[in-house]
């Protein structure tokens, strides 16, 4: 399996999804060899071993290939990431993002030659080249695992080379696993991919997260303060700017409400500035990226979690939020909206609709409690465990094997 994010090197939901998938696959009896690039600047043993070190733990093999590839960035972000890596170390990295992708693919092919495997699973365009090279070496079927396409990340055509590589990977793959019907339809429409080779596998969530225990420590804002949460990368795709505009509207109706922006990203300076302009800077809190117990704590101190994403191919945050008993407002178009009933679904640009729901949740405890209990019950159903997506992904693997036999 060629992924890209894996803890502790995590920038967004894909690491959570990859961990979840790998855990689930192992639980349903599928052995996994995971090859991930990871950014040297964040590594404790940064970039010293160029071809990556092999770490064996039980049935899971993680190959970490030292590389500054970042999962969500485009070409410009790569430049920044590479420069910081260069500042610390001598570099043998390719001179541009695509060169780096090719270099990763070359290393991945070497690993594919020596690691026994039955199928190849490559996550998103950045790993497609690796998957294709591995297939050329081993002759095993390739599953393209698609989480988002350039259109989702950029809201338009995006980088033509990335789009070309997405299309090439999707069209060449033996099967495609997509995390929603919407993303499948988008791939079919934009990249003329054969709809017949898609398997839609909605994500599940680790049942280990979200315990019945109250979160450790009380809310630093006080127990009675209404809290509205944004959690995610602070980038245009996730709509944190919509969140602030909604916050300002909400504050007119619920002056006591506080707003938490949990995450980091390129829009942070803009947002800090904007919250002052809107006159709500005293009620907006920027926590930066959170993990572990802090994550659970921030969900539980919130009365509602709002996802104003411009594009949200799946939206794991919704499952995490609901599992922690926090009602969720998700984009109508999100993949998660295809499978979750007990939540509000709105158009992200429709700030009035979003405000309407947020104010209602803050105003009516009955509504908040109903959403909280029903939502939590819903994500606790078997279909949202890790086993279900793993079982469906395994079925897709077997289908690919049958077809290639």
């Amino acid at each position: 399996m060629f992924g890209w994010e894996f803890p502790p090197y995590q920038a967004g939901g894909l690491a959570t999804a990859t961990v979840g998938l790998v855990k689930g696959l192992i639980r349903v009896g599928i052995e996994v060899t995971l090859v991930v690039p990871f950014p040297v600047t964040e590594s404790p043993i940064a970039g010293l071993k160029l071809l990556g070190s092999d770490q064996h733990s039980g049935q899971l093999t993680v190959h970490r290939v030292a590389s500054p590839l970042m999962p969500y960035g485009g070409v410009l972000e790569y430049e920044g990431s590479r420069r910081s890596a260069l500042g610390a170390r001598h570099s043998v990295y390719g001179g541009d993002l695509f060169g780096e992708v090719e270099r990763f693919a070359g290393l991945a092919a070497e690993i594919a030659a020596r690691e026994p495997h039955d199928v190849i699973d490559a996550h998103d365009w950045i790993a497609f080249a690796a998957g294709l090279r591995a297939r050329a070496v081993s002759g095993k079927p390739l599953i393209a695992h698609i989480h988002a396409i350039e259109f989702d990340r950029t809201g338009g055509d995006g980088n033509p080379e990335i789009a070309r590589r997405e299309q090439a990977g999707l069209r060449a793959a033996d099967r495609v696993v997509s995390n929603s019907y919407r993303l499948r339809d988008l791939c079919v429409e934009r990249y003329q991919t054969d709809p017949g080779k898609f398997d839609v596998v909605h994500w599940g969530i680790d049942d280990g997260t979200g315990s019945d225990e109250p979160a450790i420590g009380s809310s630093p804002l006080g127990p009675d303060t209404p809290v509205v949460l944004f959690l995610g990368r602070v980038t245009s795709q996730k709509g944190p700017d919509y969140f602030l505009e909604m916050a300002a509207k909400t504050a007119r109706f619920v002056p006591a409400a506080h707003f938490v922006v949990a995450g980091s990203g390129d829009m942070l300076p803009f947002l800090i500035h904007r919250s002052a302009e809107l006159g709500i800077a005293d009620r907006v809190h920027f926590t930066g990226g959170l993990g572990g117990a802090d994550l659970e704590r921030v969900y539980r101190m919130a009365d509602v979690c709002v996802m104003p994403s411009r594009s949200e191919p799946f939206g794991l945050v919704a499952l995490e939020s609901l599992l922690n008993g926090t009602p969720c407002i998700m984009p109508k178009q999100a993949g998660v909206a295809e499978v979750i009933q007990n939540a509000f679904k709105v158009d992200s640009w429709d700030l009035d609709a979003m405000t309407d729901k947020v104010v209602a949740i803050l105003k009516y405890p009955g509504l908040r409690d109903e959403l909280s209990e029903r939502g939590r019950h819903e994500v606790s159903l078997p279909r949202f465990t890790l086993d279900e997506p793993a079982r469906l992904t395994g079925a897709s693997y077997r289908q690919a094997l049958t077809m290639s036999a």
Binding site: Q341, N342, V359, Y364, L367
Partner: protein, 397 residues
């Protein structure tokens, strides 16, 4: 061999707009006139007019031996007059055949019986006046919204001059007794209770087009055999009128079924009776309903309307405001408020099926029960603001 008592409920609510926070105080109308007109006209074309024509024909051809009962909510009659007068005429022509008894109910198809007895009396009286004006008939038998009945209601219904009342033949109430009998209300013994035979009613209402059902396809001769094989005083078949052509589409053969049923029953010696006929019969014994019982769902209780915190919150606020509005005496505001008492509004907030992702079990104009709640509460907020500064004083009374 029992008699056959066929009854159908005809109702449409005034649906609300997706009324938002930012609409409060703007003077925007609460009701979605476009949607209400569209839905009413669609159902009128698919169900009401074809069913009315068919039933009128069946009544005439049977020389009056085939007969039935209907009840039409006030909100339905209003909508017919507004959006489809020809359909209202078609109902009047059907009633003019002499084979249709019209039952009494709350004008607004409301839960006032549960919440506010004074309002209940007012809504039943309004409905009675509307029926007299529209059909020149006086209702003698009562059916409460969704067949909701419990012992406490009987004296009130009797005091309003009704002789009998339709009730649900729920297992927990019947406790082994037959639903095919007429009973006396324990709290008002001269009020007759007629329990619905729910298995035979649901064979038509729910299972008719269900291909996985062992008895599919259900034909009129087969069904008439079942009725003929039943025991007791009368088999009470109580349905939604929308069963014919809307819940069960014409393509399922529901109209052919209905078209042949009277003849198939009559040739087996079965007789059709109406609720007022049954109300004159001697009761088989007393029947007690300790808790509010309805014809809905497996539970047969009121949890489809008052079963979660959304519904309780909205219902409580609605009736609190109603008492204030009556004290204020503003008829225009009261009329707006009364349309909000239609039980469909809280039904849309029902979450009990939603929990397991089964969203197809019921029809709602909203994306979710939560959206239904928010729109409804925003409307109440606006209505409260329109009462103005006197509201706290009125609420305190």
């Amino acid at each position: 061999m029992p008699d056959i008592c066929l009854y159908a409920q005809v109702h449409q609510p005034f649906r609300l707009r997706r009324y938002r926070l930012f609409d409060i105080g703007t003077g925007l109308d609460y009701f979605d006139e476009e949607a209400n007109a569209r839905i009413l006209r669609r159902v009128a074309a698919k169900c009401y007019r074809p069913a009315n024509r068919l039933l009128a024909d069946l009544i005439r051809r049977s020389d009056g031996r085939f007969k039935l009962a209907l009840s039409l909510s006030g909100t339905l009659i209003e909508q017919l007059a507004l959006y489809s007068p020809e359909t209202l005429e078609s109902f009047q022509e059907l009633v003019d055949t002499g084979g249709v008894e019209i039952l009494g109910e709350t004008y607004y198809h409301s839960l006032a019986g549960l919440a506010d007895r004074e309002e209940f009396l007012e809504q039943v009286a309004r409905h009675r006046r509307l029926v007299e004006r529209t059909f020149a008939r006086r209702p003698y038998v009562f059916r409460n919204t969704e067949l909701i009945y419990w012992d406490d209601l009987a004296p009130t219904v009797l005091a309003m001059g009704f002789r009998g009342m339709l009730v649900e033949g729920a297992d927990q109430v019947m406790a082994g007794r037959s639903a095919n009998q007429v009973y006396a209300a324990t709290t008002a013994p001269s009020l007759r209770l007629m329990p619905r035979n729910y298995p035979l009613s649901d064979d038509v209402g729910f299972r008719f087009s269900e291909r996985s059902w062992g008895e599919w396809p259900l034909t009129a001769p087969k069904y008439a055999d079942w009725l003929h094989g039943a025991t007791g005083e009368s088999v009470n078949l109580f349905l939604d009128y929308e069963t014919f052509g809307e819940h069960q589409w014409a393509e399922t053969g529901i109209f052919e079924f209905l078209g042949h049923l009277p003849h198939e029953c009559l040739r087996r010696g079965l007789r059709f009776v109406q609720p007022s006929d049954l109300a004159r019969r001697r009761p088989a014994g007393p029947l007690s309903y300790p808790n509010p019982t309805s014809w809905a769902d497996q539970e047969r209780d009121t949890s489809a309307w008052l079963g979660n915190r959304l519904q309780d919150t909205a219902h409580e606020r609605l009736y609190r405001l109603g008492r204030a509005l009556r004290a204020l005496g503003d008829q225009a505001l009261l009329e707006q408020w009364r349309r909000l008492t239609t039980s469909d509004h809280v039904y849309y907030m029902c979450t009990k099926w939603f929990a397991d992702g089964d969203v197809h079990k019921y029809f709602s104009p909203y994306d979710s029960p939560y959206d239904a709640f928010v729109a409804f509460m925003n409307v109440l907020e606006d209505l409260e603001q329109r009462v103005g500064a006197d509201l706290p004083i009125l609420l305190a009374r």
